[in-house]
Amino acid sequence: MKKQTIAPEVDMMVVNAPLIANHAKAGNFVVMRLHEKGERIPLTIADSNKDAGTITLLFQKTGKTTEELGMLNSGDEIRDIAGPLGHPTPVKKYGHCVLVGGGIGVATLYPILKALKARNNKVTAILGARTKELLVWEENFREFSNEVLVATDDGSYGRKGLVTDALKDIIDHRSVALVIAVGPIRMMQAVSELTRPYGIKTMVSLNPIMVEGTGMCGACRVNVAGKTRFACIEGPEFDGHEVDFNGLGSRLVFYKKEEEVSLKRFKRKCKK
């Protein structure tokens, strides 16, 4: 395992996992557990290299386990890691695709971008962040996309405003075959609401709470088109126009109290 910090609170990790790298496809994720008392957390496979036998993970330190993960050093081992999980992104020749990434959501979009380009799609990437220093992997997107637009909330870089403003400009003026949005739930919801009247197919990648990640527990269930679906095996990508974002949002904060307890306790222990 190799690790580096690429933005405040955001680390990149290259993990030696040849079996997972061998089968990893765009849209896949892994579930990992750091130690005997640890929880299982899902992380998107942001990149993979079959020859080197490695996978790349980006993560934002938002809770106890990601904080702990951030404390690992290059050369350390991850106790348990399983994957590649999830249904891969269906990739074919669509035409003009717009990828909308918010924050760490770029980790999920990057392999999708590469796969779409391998099938000769034209890709516009819209990357959003609160502020310039939180923007990650812009150069990677510039390498593969036909065009990259940046939007920051505070206007410190690119255009000031939301990714949806940039997206609206594009779909008002150009034809778009497919939009894929990955980021905070409210952003994905806003993108889906924006494209709905235009009838543009819009995929979103969901991040519900998971336990085992292989379709057995149902913790990750979401309501899609009125039906209960398991994000870990039927997703994590779904049609944004069919997802019940409010239901998902409510389930995402179900353990908020426990997450706070766990993080506080961890930080207290670290100080000692």
């Binding site: 292989t214 913790a219 979401v222 179900f254 426990e258 766990s262």
Partner: protein
């Protein structure tokens, strides 16, 4: 059998049943009539020579008894605890007609625990290696049985487990108070002692494929991945906060140790009033787990009557003693939530049982009368179905029903070299029936590879 005091035991996760003392075991063994044509053996899915093992116990040769069981069954400490003996061996016991059947399960458990108390493991004879590699997918009861049986015959066995711990449903499904983790670990150590390798975190169909196994020189593959995917009722309110599938609720506690949160990282919600929907072992396990997490009231909501409860009899008795409340002939219609999207109540319809149909089964019929139970947590324990990850990854594999693998009586699938057994071929059933399927599959894998 001795049990811990209900008031004490419901406050912790330690084992409820204490098993037999040596004196009790010998006395119970002496009750066996040693029938010429033993019916108990016919009632056992793995056909243990029950009278023989009991005769050893009667003579106080407990290890002799254990050796006899292990000729048929490698997991006696587990089976002695979780088998539904009342419908199997003990259900057939001739003594049961007039009085109580011999407590075969308790004696089985006693001899297995006796070996533990000596701190040793007696491994059986293992044939010299024949060099043939066999892959076993899933480390639950079916997979462990296939692995152990074939390892004894000299095969080179690798078991692939998707989770970070071996044991399958034994590890994530059955609670500590009914089947202690150290009992499972010990039986798994026994299987490893036979030379079996267990690789964790391998989600076959994703991490590796069946085709890769054949290319890597595996001669045969056994699929025993269980029926892990939860079924749902399809009623409104199922996705409210604090509605759990039993599989998630139990996995959080059994596998992830959420009852030790925050020492362990995984949380589970503790509720005051809980409704568990269903009447099987998983429902009893969920209800009693919720109680141990501190719930004040726990209801089992079941749409048929007490007589139809599919759970193991002993667990129903244990649950009642611990104060679980039963609402029979009650069919959930809707789970009600508050404004924040959290459970506040469950509304059910009162049912009545019909006259028996052709199969002799009485069906629950709606009465039109509804009632509401105020609860802050609902756990759905209405069954499990097949998990699509592996089965859908194998081209041409014949499936039936809800994605179960079609096999013949010997555990063969329609594809050459691929065998299956346990819940993934039958739908959710018992530990021991999965082990029976594992035994048959091991026999036919041996025949297949040896070209007999």
């Amino acid at each position: 059998m001795r049990y811990r005091n209900p008031e004490k035991r419901k406050a912790d996760f330690k084992e409820v049943s204490l098993g037999l003392t040596e004196r009790q075991a010998v006395k119970e063994a002496a009750r066996c009539l040693q029938c010429k044509k033993p019916r108990c053996i016919a009632g056992c899915p793995v056909e243990i020579d029950i009278p023989k093992f009991i005769s050893f116990v009667k003579e106080k040769d407990y290890l002799g008894g254990l050796r006899t069981i292990r000729e048929f069954n490698m997991l006696p400490a587990i089976c002695g605890r979780v088998c539904p003996q009342e419908t199997q061996c003990q259900g057939m016991c001739i003594l049961g007609k007039k009085s109580k059947p011999v407590s075969i399960g308790s004696i089985e458990r006693f001899v297995a625990d006796y070996e533990v108390s000596l701190g040793r493991i007696d491994l059986p004879d293992i044939k010299p290696s024949n060099g043939h590699k066999v892959a076993v997918i899933g480390s639950g009861p079916a997979g462990l049985t296939v692995a152990a049986d074939l390892a004894k015959l000299g095969y080179d066995i690798t078991v692939f487990e998707a989770l970070h711990e071996a044991g399958g449903v034994l590890a994530y499904g059955i609670p500590e108070f009914r089947l202690p983790k150290k009992t499972i670990q010990r039986e798994i150590e026994f299987v490893k002692g036979l030379g079996v390798r267990i690789l964790l975190n391998r989600v076959i169909g994703k991490t590796q494929t069946i085709d890769e196994f054949f290319n890597d020189g595996f001669k045969a593959i056994f699929i025993g991945v269980g029926a892990g995917a939860p079924k749902y009722l399809g009623i409104p309110g199922e996705n409210l906060n604090n509605v759990y599938f039993a599989s998630e609720f139990l996995t959080r506690v059994n596998l992830m140790k959420a009852h030790h949160f925050p020492v362990y990282d995984t949380p589970v919600k503790k509720a005051r009033k809980v409704a568990v929907i269903g009447g099987g072992n998983v429902a009893m396990d969920s209800a009693r787990t919720a109680l141990r997490l501190g719930a004040e009231r726990v209801y089992i909501v079941y749409r048929r009557s007490e007589r139809e409860l599919p759970s193991r009899h002993e667990e129903i008795e244990n649950a009642k003693e611990e104060g679980i409340r039963f609402r029979f002939l009650s069919d959930p219609r809707v789970i009600l939530g508050n404004d924040a999207g959290w459970v506040r109540a469950i509304r059910c319809e009162k049912m009545r049982l019909s006259d028996p149909d052709e199969s002799g089964r009485k069906r629950p019929e709606p009465t039109g009368k509804e009632f509401t139970i105020s609860v802050d947590q609902v756990i759905m324990a209405i069954g499990q179905t097949s998990n699509p990850i592996l089965v859908r990854s194998i081209k041409g594999l014949k499936l039936w029903g809800d994605g179960y693998i079609g096999i013949d009586r010997e555990g063969r699938t329609n594809l050459k070299g691929i065998f299956a057994g346990g819940d993934i071929s039958t739908g959710a059933a018992t530990v021991i029936s999965a082990m029976g399927a594992g035994k048959r599959a091991a026999r036919s894998i041996d025949e297949y590879i040896m070209g007999r």
